[in-house]
């Protein structure tokens, strides 16, 4: 579903990504971990077509993000730690807007469905500025799945969430994983990352230093390897 070959990204003199090769199969849940500044967010943004790579290729669902970015966008849903929502509009209005931008058919039904999935249906007519951070994050996920993308990219979704919100997010992620979508998630939390993933990878020094199926590792091993890799 996702193929990355030799992806690099340079910001002025700084080389953030130094040649990433990665494959993510259909329906697979990949957790990408790495120290701060390793380039996780940069990598995800490139996959989401928000940023252009300096060199290298990537295809999402068979579509090259370099040559056909608009097509690729239809297949991708992004959840970042910014909510990408409009505070002054209600949940429904936000989803109506994004639904129109993504040409979603049967929009009203899709909106109801998405809101129920993230358990926000009862607050749908409240402006987003009245939501807690956890609720905003959930609405952000609803926005991301509204157009039924084949690929979900999630950039540190657990950031800033309290216990209850984290628990709810775990549930939602579990549902996503089970729904057959391909998911790439970056996180700091090794335990949560390992728990929900099919495969894990460590991004360090601008390259993928380590990959493994999740079931072959336990948390201790993972922590050890991570400490080695991240230096």
């Amino acid at each position: 579903m996702i193929q990355v070959r030799g992806l690099t990204k340079t910001f002025g003199p700084k080389k953030v990504l130094r040649g990433i090769d990665l494959d993510v199969g259909e329906g697979e849940f990949l957790t990408l971990v790495g120290p701060n500044g390793a380039g996780k967010t940069t990598f995800l943004r490139i996959l989401a077509t928000l940023s252009r790579p300096t060199s290298g290729q990537a295809t999402v669902g068979g579509v090259s993000i370099d040559q056909h970015p608009a097509q690729a966008r239809r297949k991708i849903g992004l959840v970042s730690h910014r909510t990408l929502l409009y505070d002054d509009l209600t949940a429904v209005e936000n989803l109506q807007f994004y639904g129109r931008m993504y040409d979603v058919t049967g929009l009203a039904a899709r909106i109801e469905d998405a809101l129920r999935q993230v358990d926000l249906y009862f607050r749908r007519h409240d402006p987003v500025r009245t939501y807690s951070r956890g609720m905003q994050q959930r609405l952000s996920i609803a926005r991301a799945i509204l157009h039924d993308p084949q690929v979900m990219l999630m950039d540190e979704p657990y950031t800033g969430l309290d216990q209850q919100a984290t628990a709810m997010l775990r549930r939602v992620l579990g549902t996503l994983a089970a729904s057959g979508r391909t998911v790439v998630m970056t996180t700091h939390d090794l335990e949560l990352g390992l728990e929900v993933a099919d495969r894990v990878a460590i991004l360090s020094g601008g390259k993928i230093g380590f990959q493994s199926p999740a079931k072959d590792l336990d948390v201790q091993q993972f922590r050890r390897i991570y400490a080695e890799q991240a230096g």
Partner: protein, 224 residues
């Protein structure tokens, strides 16, 4: 058609969000009103010259208020990260431009619609000229918002964002402002439309050329 629909969705979203709080509109309106009132007050002392300066005063009020709105429109998007939300969508970047431009122009236009009658009262202007003035204001606003939307998308990505927009926009908008002021003056003085032909040409010409240019180059400005 899909293109226009999406541009419309962007414009509608901006306007609907603004309607909720009306913050920007209030700021713009109050600012323009203050300009008008202060000039009216200051020039009261030399009544004869006041009338001749009205076109200039009006357009100072409009452009400065417009600048406020243009600035905030993109600064808000950038700070909340919602600009990225827009860029994620499978939509032509120029559709985003069109939508934003229309929303900015509409907001400026509404402010002008409120300010014009107030100016007419304060400066004792002939009400019969109001319809034509609305036309001039509309065309001027379109051009101003047209280039202004492009430049504010640039300015918001620079370090001195509030200062950058006026610095970029005013020199480029000079022909537009000249035409608008000349037309306003001509209409208020009751000149025949034929005499003002060249200014109409300048105004419309500016709009066409720069709206097209901005439309074509917006892509380069908005992408990362």
């Amino acid at each position: 058609m899909e293109f226009l629909r999406k541009a419309g969705a962007v414009a509608w979203k901006d306007l609907r969000a603004e309607w909720r709080t009306r913050e920007m509109f209030s700021a713009m309106f109050v600012f323009a009103l203050l300009v008008i009132i202060i000039f009216n007050f200051a020039l009261e002392l030399r009544a004869e010259s006041a009338r001749a300066l009205v076109p200039g005063i009006l357009w100072v009020a409009f452009t400065f208020a417009g600048m406020l709105g243009l600035n905030r429109s993109f600064i808000q998007e950038k700070d909340r990260g919602s600009l990225e939300g827009l860029l994620l969508c499978p939509v032509d970047r120029s559709a985003i431009y069109l939508g934003k431009m229309l929303a900015n122009a509409a907001l400026m236009g509404v402010v002008e619609l409120f300010i014009l009658p107030v100016s007419f009262v304060l400066f004792n202007l002939p009400f019969g000229t109001l319809p034509m003035l609305v036309v001039v204001a509309a065309l001027g606003t379109l051009g101003f918002a047209g280039v202004g939307t492009l430049f504010s998308a640039m300015a918001v990505n620079t370090r001195a964002r509030e200062v950058m927009l006026p610095m970029l926009l005013f020199p480029v908008a000079v022909p537009l402002i000249i035409a608008a002021v000349k037309l306003t003056a001509g209409i208020l003085d009751g000149l025949a439309l034929g005499e003002l032909a060249r200014w109409w040409q300048l105004l419309v010409g500016f709009d066409v050329i720069f709206l097209t240019l901005s439309f074509m180059t917006f892509d380069y400005v908005i992408e990362e």
